[in-house]
Amino acid sequence: MTDFNAMTEALVECDEDKLFEMVNAALADNVPAGDVLNQGLISGMDIVGEKMENGDMFIPEVLMAAQAMGRCVEILKPLLGEEDAGGGANVLIGTVKGDLHDIGKNLVAMMLESAGMNVHNIGVDIAPEEFIAQIKEKNAQIVCLSALLTTTMPMMKQTVEAIVESGLRDQVKILVGGAPVNQAFADEIGADGFAPDAGSASKIAKALLN
């Protein structure tokens, strides 16, 4: 009997070797890879995200947990079926044009990926037309826009407007974040959601999909 609680616990404790051992043991016991991924790893990262949001875990610990999960996902990948791999939503994430900051955005991308989503991190200084082209190409359901400067916040608004004009607005949920961004600004520019930190981003993204 595989103890998924022990697995999530090992992940939350950032104990990479223990987690790796447990995942291997579960696979040896013929536990389906999809169950290990969903019930062991992804639910563990959900707890990590929550703890981060509440200030009980910090970025270096979240990075350690993600690294531990990444090592396990590598051995799960070849064993995952179509239905396991296709479960996640397509997410596009980038920093808006004129803004070169990427640390927070990359943390959010990592948390979304750890939540089982197919994340396409398209980088920094992304023009509205590039976001639109990528939404089409990646068939994105969620677009995450990041801006770290008060001077680039207007570009967030322009990007949302461009998505509306392109006719793709109904296809995607738009999530915004970054140091100067708040809920009021998100509402003002017509975004669907605002995430104050990487920990809450995956929770909010999931809520938007439902």
């Binding site: 200030g55 910090f58 970025i59 270096p60 990075l63 070169l100 900051h101 990427d102 640390i103 943390l107 920094v124 200084d125 008060t150 001077t151 916040m153 207007p154 100067p180």
Partner: protein, 266 residues
């Protein structure tokens, strides 16, 4: 001597934004007086947060602050037109915050700076984004000094900001910037090193102990200025103490003065 650039007059701070929107001069004057009393060597003025109002907000802030400012202003905007207007208004030689190697920014700022008497904060940012290594930071600093020298800004008027990055995302970010500062000072002993410090502690708890420890290390490496809140007594006390320990305080005069005034406590 270490130079403190007081960062409080920034419209991205809620109370400052409200005071600017309501043209509450008393609030601004009071804040600036507190920064001066705490030992600010420059007063940074940033009017960028009320989108569409930067020019008139900057003008009003300078009109409000200049009569009581006993130190020069640090004019903080990415817009050369706003800076030109502000530059014409100030009496004491200002500091300009800032230029970087981003193509658009560099291209817009160099003509503005050409031939002007001012100090300049130069960010080690380029089109590729944040620097990735010590050598990367040093290379960008060299380019910035060359570009600024070419338009008549002397090296001793340049304040390089090496861009402190969070140690929470990479345990080597502290060493990276410390090595870079040493490298820059080796290339240009007369250049100044400035910047914000609090980025170092982003994502970690108990940030102020990290910031305080870090400023001491940065000062040893060659940092001689910082953009901080001068009303943060603990960091100001750490800076004064570190300045003494690094031999910049004759007969420990500044330190003892700080202790007697109550600004430095053990």
């Amino acid at each position: 001597m270490f130079e403190v650039i007081g960062e409080r007059i920034n419209t991205s701070r809620k109370k400052v934004q409200a005071a600017v929107a309501e043209r509450d001069a008393d609030y601004i004057v009071d804040d600036v007086k507190q920064q001066l009393a705490a030992g600010a060597d420059y007063i940074d003025v940033n009017a960028g947060a009320r989108i569409g109002h930067e020019t008139e907000d900057m003008q009003w802030l300078i009109d409000t602050i200049q009569p009581i400012a006993t130190v020069p202003l640090c004019l903080d905007s990415p817009d050369p037109a706003v800076l030109e207007m502000a530059f014409q208004m100030v009496e004491a030689e200002p500091m300009i915050n800032s230029i970087s190697l981003e193509t658009d920014r560099l291209g817009a700022m160099l003509p503005f700076l050409e031939g002007k008497a001012c100090k300049v904060i130069a960010l080690c940012m380029d089109d590729a984004g944040m620097p990735a290594s010590s050598d990367d930071i040093i290379g960008r600093a060299v380019k910035l000094v060359e570009e600024l020298n070419r338009v008549g800004i002397k090296t001793e008027s340049i304040y390089i900001d090496p861009l402190v990055q969070p140690i929470s995302t990479d345990s080597n970010k502290g060493v990276m910037v410390l090595d870079a500062v040493r490298g820059i000072k080796k290339n240009f002993p007369e250049v100044h090193i400035t910047g914000g410090l609090s980025n170092i502690s982003y994502g970690l708890p108990q940030r102020r102990i990290i910031n305080r420890t870090f400023v001491g290390l940065m000062m040893d490496a060659g940092m001689d200025s910082a953009i901080i809140d001068p009303l943060d007594q603990a960091i100001m006390a750490t800076i004064k103490t570190a300045d003494m320990l690094l031999g910049h305080d004759n007969f420990c005069g500044g330190y003892l003065k700080g202790v007697r005034s109550g600004a430095i406590k053990s």
